[in-house]
Symmetry: C2
Subunit: 206 residues, 2 copies
Amino acid sequence: MNKIITIGRQFGSGGRELGKRLAELLGWAYYDNEIITQIANRTDLAESYVKQILESNPVASFPITIGQTLYTSVNSGIDQATNIYVEQSNIITEMADKSDCVIVGRCADYILRDRNPFKIFVYASMQSRVDRCRSKDEKSDVLTDRMLLNKIRKIDRQRAKYYMFYTGYKWGEMRNYDICINTTNASIKDVAKALVKMLQPEEQTK
Amino acid sequence: MNKIITIGRQFGSGGRELGKRLAELLGWAYYDNEIITQIANRTDLAESYVKQILESNPVASFPITIGQTLYTSVNSGIDQATNIYVEQSNIITEMADKSDCVIVGRCADYILRDRNPFKIFVYASMQSRVDRCRSKDEKSDVLTDRMLLNKIRKIDRQRAKYYMFYTGYKWGEMRNYDICINTTNASIKDVAKALVKMLQPEEQTK
């Protein structure tokens, strides 16, 4: 079975950078936006629309289990979101079948739970997330600190709702992960190297 | 300023083993039961009594801040526990003054908060904690699984109450730590080596 790392992350905590660095150091595939492109290709929906659906809150507030539920929605919005989620699950499973990989977000830890992925959660203080957003994304310049803070909180709330809706678990709950890393005072480069050492203690890596 | 690692840990999760290994790899001092011996020496109380006080629940359920409170207790039990806590705080501060060190438990993360310690929390699934207790402590053999499970839960509850009472913070809350490590499927030896790499990325260690 291929080796898999999944990364859940608070917005602005550097989870994506950590994922990329890990994939590079390990020589594994890295999947993030590629998944959206694939969904768009398969469903004939625009990438921007798929992204919007995946980032919006599921309407209902109770968890459902795809394939085991008798729940049939009359709300086409939920249907659309659910179809996209199912397609996403298929794509993530296929990607994990193909090679060792690092997957950021997208409930991958839950979708691939039978394959025993190494599950990371990345978090940081609000101030360091504001600072990281400013340093990584020029578009943040037009936002005041308060606006940026509200944006961060909103995206986190969406991620938590999305995760709860599709998995039934609380997003970012420590016990659901193998390791939780606070990047507030950390060098993500050093964290990535240390994690490689943890995952491949005896092997030489690049 | 000396470098400090503090380790909070669920009972049976291997936090003490991790602390010992880290101290050994880094060549730093390691403090755990030594603190109790020192308190006993300074207060003229028996070590077993100090240990019992430190492991029992503080009676009141609200946080107090030593040195900043006008609260004067008429309950000598609380007074005794508070005196021991103050003595413990002094000893921990002195130890941190002396050399680089690893300190397990005892609210050291809070007591030394101004010295910017690297704060670790160690946790694991209940089953792996039961297994670890059985493998590390022969006395566990006389306990049924249910009894051992109740013991683990009780000690965790005591740690949480103790921590809340003296620090005002929730014990084991992710955001209060730099890294949280699930030892359920991990080799503590490998985790220790990886953490050393994270803390001393450029240095050669033993």
